[in-house]
Symmetry: C2
Subunit: 309 residues, 2 copies
């Protein structure tokens, strides 16, 4: 039950209709690791931060079972910084500031102790870096999941396509699925993306839930209707972390188990949005997760017998 997590660790400054933050801890690898740590205690982290990144937060990750030998700390440089403002619908946002800093020339070093890992989660990063990680693994892992975004489709399509061809599961949002495939229908988009390499496609639709496609099979998980969506930052990464964490814990990559993993991922994401940044995730208990999963069961379960009584 080993999991390699690669991605950004960063500072975010967030504005929502409900408030704004100073620089708080964010980044794809941060959210993925925090979510996955609820399921698996052998997480191997590959990331880069500057000297400004809080050491106590790294120690805290270590107590949760996250190995940090692959975390590069560049003491004289600054961590990646992103600032954004969410619109009222909380599904769209404007980027205000992006400072790559240490991420600009990130060379993802894989420590020897990380080799032989079973599951890999490639958080959103440049496709070149994601590709390097795969190439630097001595053995092919059981499952490689890759997240990406429209930005790379715009500026690095060729490299992106090469990387996508190397992974098992691709996670993108609905607009990105349309952009990547050139198909408006998500069913058609999935078929097209399967010809590019991945055998599984997860389409994240934010407050409208998530779809899992595999061959001709499709599974849908809703997002939990919440009274307050406080801050969506990191929800997609948290979803991915719950998904891959559950798979790594159960070591079962059947379609039926992926359905369960999608539900656990959705449950984790529903916590993420309740507070700013990682605030809600760091305080989470197993009992809360089970209670939340039960809410998902209640939300979608129905009992129809199609045999006439």
């Amino acid at each position: 039950m080993s999991l390699l997590v690669v991605g950004s660790m960063a500072f975010d400054a967030i504005e929502t209709p409900f408030g704004k933050t100073d620089k708080i801890i964010g980044g794809a690898a941060t959210f993925i690791s925090l979510a996955a740590a609820n399921f698996v205690n052998d997480i191997r982290l590959v990331a880069v931060v500057g000297g400004d990144f809080p050491k106590p937060f790294v120690r805290n990750l270590e107590t949760k079972g996250v190995q940090t030998e692959g975390l590069q700390i560049k003491e004289d440089e600054k961590s990646f910084f992103w600032s954004g403002r969410y619109h009222m619908d909380m599904n769209t946002r404007d980027t205000l500031v992006t400072e790559l800093n240490v991420l600009g020339d990130f060379d993802p070093i894989i420590p020897d102790s990380y080799q032989g890992v079973e599951f890999v989660m490639l958080g959103n990063l440049s496709p070149q870096v994601q590709q390097q990680v795969i190439e630097r693994l001595d053995e092919r892992p059981r499952l490689i999941v890759m997240d990406t975004m429209n930005f790379w489709m715009d500026v690095a399509r060729e490299e992106l396509d090469k990387t996508i061809a190397m992974v098992d599961v691709l996670t993108i949002n609905d607009e990105e699925a349309r952009q990547l495939s050139g198909e408006y229908s998500l069913v058609k988009a999935a078929k097209k993306i399967f010809t590019m390499g991945p055998k599984y496609l997860i389409i994240k639709k934010g407050e409208h839930g998530a779809l899992l496609f595999h061959g001709d099979q499709v599974f849908f998980a809703p997002a939990l209707p919440l009274e307050v969506v406080f801050d969506p930052t990191g929800a997609g990464d948290t979803f991915a972390g719950g998904f891959i964490g559950y798979l790594a814990q159960t070591r079962d990559i059947s379609f039926d188990n992926m359905k369960r993993a999608i539900i656990f991922g959705s449950a984790m994401a529903s916590f993420c949005v309740e507070k700013f940044g990682t605030e809600r995730l760091v305080e989470l208990t197993k009992a809360e997760i089970e209670e939340r999963v039960q809410q998902f069961i209640d939300l979608v379960q129905f009992d129809i017998s199609l045999v006439e009584g």
Copy 2:
């Protein structure tokens, strides 16, 4: 298992990215009746059409168990006409033409033979007309479901509120729920709308599915991911017709049975969008409906045991 259906019967001219139609048969009561007729054979129709409305279509409805004593035919006038153009996302549209014609002074007459009806579906119409229908029923039906739209919130809010206070179930889309309640969160919107009268709220989200709220309970049904959404016109009415038709057939208004009714409604709506207008609905078989409901079961069912093994 009697059902009163009130609503428009009309001509539509539709443009979508996939094609356009001349005047074809549409209208809320048309779609509702066609969908409900798959479940219940005592449908009592109240509507008004002009002399231009095709008599064979009315005869066809009658063969499906729709009583038309309450259908007023104004031979010298014209039927309601709506024309619209859908955007690429198929969730938004522009109205090109609205000609009220016979609907302008519609006085919904309830024949004596219609009295004592158990279930009522008020399709989208002016709230005054919907209210008149309720007032003209000698006995309170078991369940009154009301559909409405943003237009009435803009131009007749006071009358609308009065009518909403008289019904059991309100069906609106997500934007309308936000407009009606002044709340952005759909969970908060539902709570607010419950203080206005209805005990159940169905929020239709088009391709993103539907939510059923009742007290603190919530149920979610997805829309079926389709390769082609050809024409969404009437999908909401078809959903409502399947919903109320299933309830009228089973005569069970428990929350658990409403969940099933939502799934059957969603299945009916998924057929509606496959062709222009009523084309797909008039040719539908029971076997096709059961097969489609099975697809919904496959789409959302998962098996999680929360007791640690």
